[in-house]
């Protein structure tokens, strides 16, 4: 094979691989919308009717309890992880810590970033066992919060690093304290920070492995902070494994809602990142 034939072959292979990956995405979203949309349109009531007592077996009722559970778990979790993540990212800036310290912390953040979600679930479960509690909304929140923490920290750290240095210089020049300067830097990097928070939220709302053993697999409306609850991904997981075809079809309706929510969140984060690129000096498109 001469070099030009090889060049053509691999050129087409590269295009083919990209086309394959893109068409898989279109297939996944298409199937979810087609199947889920069909179930949804024939019986829109399943979204809101409260689940019956034989919910998992016979599919009485809907999945609104899981939507509520997802919101009640992921919103507070995102608030907690954001507070922690922004604080950590600020501390890793050069005003507060040395390069060496932030290298060490970044190593641990990378390890936490790569840690499988199931491990966070098992970890929180060991805490539940140790203090003799039961699975509940509260532990679901804690598990999702520590799952999101490294994700949000990484995005925030990146946004703070690419914030214009002049903001910092101006703030110090006017006699600000470190804390006041850090607040100004965070404000300057805010669109990037928010894009990171939205990404963390999207990852948190889609994850099942962390909540499986921490929030429980309740089939009722969430009724209190220390009561078992469930989330959409856990519900989809349980319904998909059901032997009842009708229950399985409900999984598609629920996954339709979840897909739309995640796609919407990504769109929001893209828009924010686009705005951010406009403000950054020499803004690159991301």
């Amino acid at each position: 094979m001469d070099r030009y034939a090889e060049q053509r072959l691999f050129g087409w292979l590269a295009r083919g691989a990209a086309a394959l990956v893109v068409s898989v995405l279109i297939l996944v979203i298409g199937v979810t919308i087609y199947r889920g949309g069909r179930v949804f349109l024939t019986d829109p009531a399943i979204a809101f009717t409260p689940p019956g007592s034989r919910y998992m077996l016979e599919g009485e009722g809907g999945f609104f309890h899981a939507v509520l559970g997802s919101v009640f778990i992921v919103v507070p979790a995102t608030v907690i992880s954001t507070i922690l993540a922004v604080s950590t990212a600020v501390y890793l800036q050069s005003d507060y810590s040395s390069d060496r310290f932030s290298d060490v912390v970044n190593m641990f953040l990378n390890v936490l970033w790569g840690t499988p979600p199931i491990v966070y679930g098992v970890f929180i479960l060991t805490v539940i066992i140790a203090i003799g509690a039961q699975t509940s909304l509260f532990f679901g929140i804690v598990a999702i919060a520590i799952f999101q923490y490294p994700i949000v920290t990484r995005y925030t750290d990146e946004a703070l690093r690419s914030a214009p240095e002049t903001v910092k210089e101006a703030a110090y020049g006017l006699g600000s304290t470190r804390f006041e300067t850090a607040r100004m830097t965070v404000r300057a990097a805010l669109p990037g920070v928010i894009a990171g928070i939205v990404m963390g939220f999207a990852r948190g709302i889609g994850d099942a492995a962390t909540v499986l053993f921490t929030a429980g697999r309740s089939t009722r409306m969430p009724s209190g902070l220390f009561e078992p609850s469930t989330t959409l991904p856990v519900l989809i997981f349980d319904q998909a494994m059901s032997f009842n075809a009708e229950v399985r079809s409900h999984a598609y309706a629920a996954s339709f809602i979840l897909t739309v929510a995640v796609l919407g969140l990504i769109l929001v984060s893209k828009l924010l990142a686009g705005r951010y690129a406009r403000y950054a000096p020499g803004g690159r498109n991301s």
Partner: protein, 312 residues
């Protein structure tokens, strides 16, 4: 800075005191947050280790890792089938996913231009963010019948389509977007002089990519693959939905099996009450942390070598 100001006006002095107090309190809080990542990691490892001790005091490590009998009800804890299943799934996934990931990364970094590039790379970002439970669900109607009705009979295997091969195929889809964006990033970070000088001495575009760019970005791509390994290794939901869940040593790629994470998912519900089983499943969590940590650490070392070797 601020201390040197001599406040003449008592009200101004109070304001400065307040600002200094805020500064001092916030430093304490931020210092705590800075150490949080380390503390969290240490706490996770210690808790998992502590709760695995009942198992490890009863059986030796070798005994548990090398035995293939998994029957918690009779107090037999052999992790070998799950370990073999995990290695099987991870290996097959990487075999299918890596070439596609590298080729797509080459397409994004070297071939695509302008709008196409923006569209393709944002499609890949979206693919990376889709919850894995949705991949599992779609695979149940698309991949499982395909494997069960056509692929497995074609190579002379039976089964329903649930099994190690199906899991690997779907995991290859789940993990590639992540490897693509990391690999494309390290290709794009290479300086243009590399491309120019290679093309300048008469190499074709593909020869430039193959012998110059891939080699220069090699460590970055290698570390992306290692991180992908870690992802597949700890994947839980997709294997739990598609592997079929039988604890035996798999004899073919189409056999059903068990991976370490699915062991936790399948057995925790019923067996929480047996203290030794509980400990055994928490030990699985500990194994996952340690292996993923090794993958991450290796990836980091490789990346550091990249930085040292390719300083332009």
């Amino acid at each position: 800075m601020v201390e040197s100001t001599e406040p003449t006006d008592p009200e101004q002095g109070a304001r400065i005191d307040r600002r200094l107090l805020a500064e001092r309190l916030s430093s304490q809080w931020l210092r705590g947050a800075g150490y949080f990542a380390i503390a969290l990691f240490a706490l996770i490892v210690l808790m998992l280790l502590y709760q695995s001790l009942p198992l490890l005091s009863e059986y030796s490590l070798v005994q548990v890792l090398a035995s293939s009998n998994w029957d918690p009800a009779r107090n037999e804890f052999g992790f070998l089938p799950a370990i073999v299943g995990t290695i099987y799934v991870t290996g097959l996934t990487m075999l299918m996913g890596t070439p596609i990931a590298i080729l797509t990364a080459i397409y994004i970094a070297e071939y695509a231009e302008g709008r196409t590039k923006v569209i393709v790379s944002s499609f890949i970002d979206v693919l990376a963010a889709i919850p894995s439970v949705i991949f599992g669900l779609v695979a149940l109607i698309v991949v499982v019948p395909f494997v069960g009705d056509y692929l497995a009979p074609a190579v002379g295997s039976g089964g329903t389509g649930l099994g190690i091969f199906t899991v690997s195929l779907v995991m290859a889809i789940v993990v590639t977007p992540f490897m693509i964006s990391l690999s494309a990033e390290s290709l794009e970070a290479l300086p243009d002089e590399l491309r120019e000088s290679s093309l300048g001495v008469g190499a074709t575009k593909w020869e430039t990519i193959k012998s110059v760019l891939l080699r220069a970005a090699g460590p970055g791509i290698f570390s992306a693959i290692l991180l992908g390994f870690g992802r597949v290794f700890g994947a839980t939901i997709v294997p739990a939905m598609l592997i079929g869940g039988q604890t035996q040593l798999p004899d073919s790629p189409f056999a059903t099996g068990q991976t370490l994470p699915t062991l936790i998912v399948n057995d925790f519900g019923e067996l929480m009450s047996l203290p030794l089983t509980q400990s055994a499943l928490i030990f699985v969590g500990l194994m996952l942390v340690i292996v993923v940590w090794l993958f991450n650490f290796t990836a980091m070392l490789v990346r550091q070598r990249l930085q040292r070797r390719w300083q332009y």
